[in-house]
């Protein structure tokens, strides 16, 4: 157990002690006890930066379940470290923010911080594990803790709905991921990501490649809210705002991004990977930004905006994978897409985190998040407005903030797809930059809505539940830190590129690097007048501004879109129909009637046995070993058949009981004929007692019942005929194929020698196989005790009497 393992597990360990601390400390907000941990973790992970920058990976391993190849391996490279820094850094800010956001007395703080710490530990485990099973375990823990956090205010209907929805969708993806992990293990025989990637050439030519890839992508797309699995994210906004800021903008939704980036060295060479990842990403980008414009809830805007930005990162990762096809690092113009993806990942975490916190502040200080009621807050909340300004303009991609830089790089990578000349891109390639450009216009519009509708215009205090004022300092510190990062990364992008992007790219595209080589990424504000990207950005700003000004005139199109074709509608109907279908299906065969269950069993019995006889060609009929037919036996057989026909045809029950007795006595006559004296005796006595019992039963029948014949039913007749035929066929074939001699010779020889008895049947019963008899006695004992109990005990009657008293 190294320090690294302890670091990853420390949030989980602290989560155990949180309720205890909560009980002890009533004076200080619980968050203060949690806050040091992410800060320490952040500095700890920060200390790895130097090593990772020099291309050294940090590894550590602990045995867990060695006979299943599962060990808790940690592997930190550029990509893992980037995520670890995001998780611990933003985690610290979110904890600080939540101290001021959540009330100490009104909220159940202990559960909140337990869930949050669970999530933090799980997320660190996901991004730093090298063993896929361990990764999967942490992956499910993120889904689970996210479920708990979304449903934090569990007395609200909407919270529970959102939590359930996100759980269903992300667990569906998680199970797909598990399927992919198992397939990878089948192919390679290892769970280690590094060893699997080392066998990339083998896997890429394997026939299971496509299923594995699709299953992994299902896991990634559901977690990262890609189209059409994005629907859980807007409903997850019912969570407290610190949770939305942490999970649903900066960390958990990027777990899918992490997965795609992590497996790019494995699958990136294939065309399918490029097509699926890029197209799904670009559709998500467009759909998310298009839908964000129509939202009236600030968090709704941010949720769709997150969906859209995640799609953008995803599409860039897909496009960047294409660079593996061009081997020369110096001239490889396609690596820019991967660099842009990593850069935008960082940027998005900064500005989206700050925007969520701003929205939380607005909600906290005014009591509403509805943009139709908000407006003119700039004068009362100047600091919040400034942060929102920085975040929104960075999100819109306006210079000089960091969002502008990554958007430029995004345009560059999308434009270069059109020149790629692989994967049959000739005509369709043009669609990528066009969609990207249109989506960017929508991004611009909703960013402007977010800022201007909230902070400018006329302040109308009557619409607000509280009198608005500036937030407390502690609540402002985290968004201020994030917003200043927006500006710092905007002006000094090389800080990010050399420290973060280059090592992360080295883990996403390791094949491009020779020994000792490094990526050399420089991010420029100014590409020169010749670059087409500049004109695209200008176009976005111009068209975006025009559309924003004329929003009233065209936002009617959202109402035109039919409500019934939204993905939410499909999801809701799907859940509803699956419940209804399962209910109806069960109701259709679980009728409560014992006859139908018996019929199912017998039909199955007949079908499977007859099918087996037919399929195996098992029927045999041989007359060789049969004994001769004698007149006695024929007569007895006829009596037996006549008796059972009488039972079937009898009108009164008395007749059938007597006929049953006749059958029983005939059977005992059969025993006589077939030389079984003990059986004959027993059968005779027992049949007599049984018939007596039947008569007792008959006597106590309800008097009003009128006697009637067994009604003929064709189905029942067919089933019983089938059973009879099956039994006959099996009996015949079993008798005709005797494989070995019976063991009875032994009994015949040894009954007297060993057991000193002359009645073989009795000696077998009490000597050779005495245990059977012992338990048969038990059966009789239990039956008699049961009968006694049934007759004597009247518990239900007693209960009624008690109630009366």
């Amino acid at each position: 157990m190294s320090l690294l393992h302890i670091a990853i597990l420390s949030p989980l360990l602290l989560a155990i002690f949180v309720p205890v601390i909560y009980k002890i400390s009533k004076f200080l907000h619980l968050g203060w006890f949690v806050l040091p941990l992410p800060v320490i973790l952040f500095t700890y992970f920060f200390s790895f930066l130097g090593d990772i920058k020099n291309g050294q990976a940090v590894t550590s391993s602990v045995e867990w379940i060695s006979f299943l190849d599962i060990s808790f391996d940690i592997y930190i490279d550029g990509l893992g470290l980037l995520f670890a820094l995001l998780i611990s850094g933003i985690g610290a800010l979110v904890v600080l923010y939540s101290i001021y956001y959540l009330d100490k007395y009104k909220e159940h703080l202990n559960t909140f911080y337990v869930y949050l710490l669970l999530f933090m530990g799980a997320m660190l485990g996901v991004v730093l594990s090298d063993n896929l099973i361990v990764l999967y375990a942490f992956w499910e823990l993120t889904s689970f803790s996210s479920f708990l956090l979304i449903g934090y205010w569990n007395e609200r209907e909407k919270s529970r709905y959102g939590a359930q929805k996100s759980m269903l969708i992300t667990v569906f993806g998680g199970l797909s991921l598990l399927g992919a992990i198992i397939l990878l293990y089948v192919m390679t025989g290892t769970f280690s990501i590094r060893e699997i990637i080392a066998q990339s050439d083998f896997i890429v030519s394997h026939e299971l490649l496509l299923p594995t890839m699709i299953l992994i992508l299902l896991g990634a797309f559901t977690k990262s809210a890609q189209f059409p699995f994005h629907i859980w994210l807007p409903d997850a906004m019912e969570a407290p705002t610190p949770v939305s800021a942490y999970l649903h903008s900066a960390t958990m939704v990027k777990a899918g991004i992490y997965l795609v980036a992590r497996f790019t060295p494995l699958f990136g060479i294939t065309g399918e990977w490029f097509w699926i990842v890029t197209i799904v990403g670009i559709i998500t980008l467009f759909w998310g930004s298009f839908n964000a414009v129509k939202q009236t809830d600030l968090k709704g805007i941010l949720a769709f905006s997150t969906v859209s930005q995640l799609g953008m990162i995803m599409s860039m990762l897909g496009a960047g994978a294409a660079s593996v096809h061009f081997d020369f690092l110096d001239e490889n113009i396609y690596t820019v897409a991967t660099a842009a993806a990593v850069f935008h990942l960082v940027n998005h975490a900064t500005f989206k985190g700050s925007l969520f916190m701003v929205v939380g502040i607005v909600d906290h200080e005014t009591g509403t998040r509805d943009i139709r009621r908000l407006g003119g807050l700039m004068t009362v909340m100047p600091i919040t407005a400034t942060i929102a300004f920085l975040g929104a303009f960075s999100m819109a991609g306006i210079p000089p903030f960091n969002g502008f830089l990554s958007k430029e790089m995004f345009f560059t990578s999308m434009l270069r797809i059109t020149e790629m000349g692989i994967f049959n891109l000739e005509t369709w390639g043009l669609l990528f930059p066009i969609l990207a450009w249109v989506a960017s216009i929508f991004t611009f519009i909703y960013s402007m809505i977010l800022f201007f509708k909230t902070f400018t215009g006329k302040l109308d205090p009557e619409k607000l539940e509280k009198k608005p004022h500036e937030a407390p300092l502690g609540m402002l510190i985290p968004p201020v830190i994030l917003a200043s990062l927006v500006v710092i990364f905007g002006f000094f992008p090389d800080l990010v590129s050399t420290n973060i992007i280059e090592p992360a790219m080295a883990s996403i595209l390791p094949d491009l690097l020779g020994d000792g080589e490094k990526f050399d990424i420089h991010i420029y504000h100014w590409h020169g007048l010749k670059s087409f990207e500049l004109y695209m950005t200008i176009g976005v700003i111009v068209v975006g501004t025009l559309l924003y000004r004329s929003l009233r005139k065209w936002d009617g199109i959202y109402n035109r879109l039919p409500k019934q074709v939204t993905w939410n509608y499909f999801y809701d109907r799907g859940v509803e129909l699956s419940q209804l279908g399962a209910y109806n299906f069960t109701k259709s065969y679980m009728t409560g009637s014992i006859r139908s269950y018996l019929a199912y069993m017998l039909i199955f019995f007949v079908a499977i046995l007859l099918w087996t006889i037919g399929y195996k060609d098992a029927f045999a009929l041989s007359m060789e070993k049969t004994s001769p037919i004698r007149v006695y036996e024929v007569i007895l057989a006829l009596v037996l058949v006549a008796g059972s026909i009488t039972i079937l045809a009898a009108k009164s029950r008395l007749t059938s009981i007597i006929a049953l007795g006749a059958v029983g006595y005939t059977v005992s006559l059969f025993f006589v004929v077939f030389r079984a004296p003990d059986l004959a005796l027993t059968q005779l006595v027992i049949e007599t007692v049984s018939v007596a019992l039947f008569l007792v039963c008959f006597y106590h029948l309800p008097k009003l019942k009128r006697e009637e014949r067994v009604r003929f039913k064709l189905n029942n007749a067919l089933i019983s005929l089938g059973v009879g035929v099956t039994v006959t066929l099996i009996a015949m074939s079993a008798h005709s194929t005797k494989l070995f001699k019976p063991i009875s010779e032994y009994y015949v020889e040894n009954t007297y020698e060993l057991a000193h008895g002359k009645n073989m049947v009795n000696v077998i019963l009490v000597d050779f196989r005495g245990f059977d008899t012992l338990f048969e006695i038990c059966v009789l004992g239990i039956a008699s005790l049961g009968i006694y109990g049934m007759i004597k005990l009247r518990l239900s009657g007693k209960g009624e009497q008690n109630e009366k008293q």
Partner: protein, 113 residues
């Protein structure tokens, strides 16, 4: 003889199953009685019906019938008797308590599903 017995046993099974699929509880129990007769005869038949003396050493015969299936059947008869007796008293009690022997009416309470 075994072939003929197989057919008779098949007939017993058929009648038993037809009775067990009927509505009346008493007929179902009669069906189980027929079914156990069928099963006992089936065991005996499958053991072989070769003629020989009864399995008593005092007979001093050349050949005896197989004693093992007889022992098995004896056990089975007693067990099926125990179960039948229990079942009959159960039916008797349910007549007393519920006032019906119609299986279609003996269902779980609809309100509880």
């Amino acid at each position: 003889m075994e072939i003929l017995m197989s057919i008779v046993i098949g007939f017993l099974f058929m009648s038993a199953v037809y009775l067990m699929l009927s509505k009346s509880l008493l007929r179902i129990i009669i069906g189980t009685g027929l079914l156990s007769h069928g099963a006992h005869l089936l065991i005996l038949t499958m053991g072989g019906l070769k003629t020989g003396a009864a399995p008593l050493l005092g007979e001093h015969a050349e050949q005896y019938t197989d004693p093992l299936p007889q022992a098995l059947i004896l056990t089975a008869i007693v067990i099926s008797f125990g179960v039948t007796a229990f079942f009959l008293v159960l039916a008797y009690r349910s007549y007393q308590e519920l006032g019906t022997d119609n299986m279609e009416r003996l269902r779980g309470n609809e309100g509880h599903d």
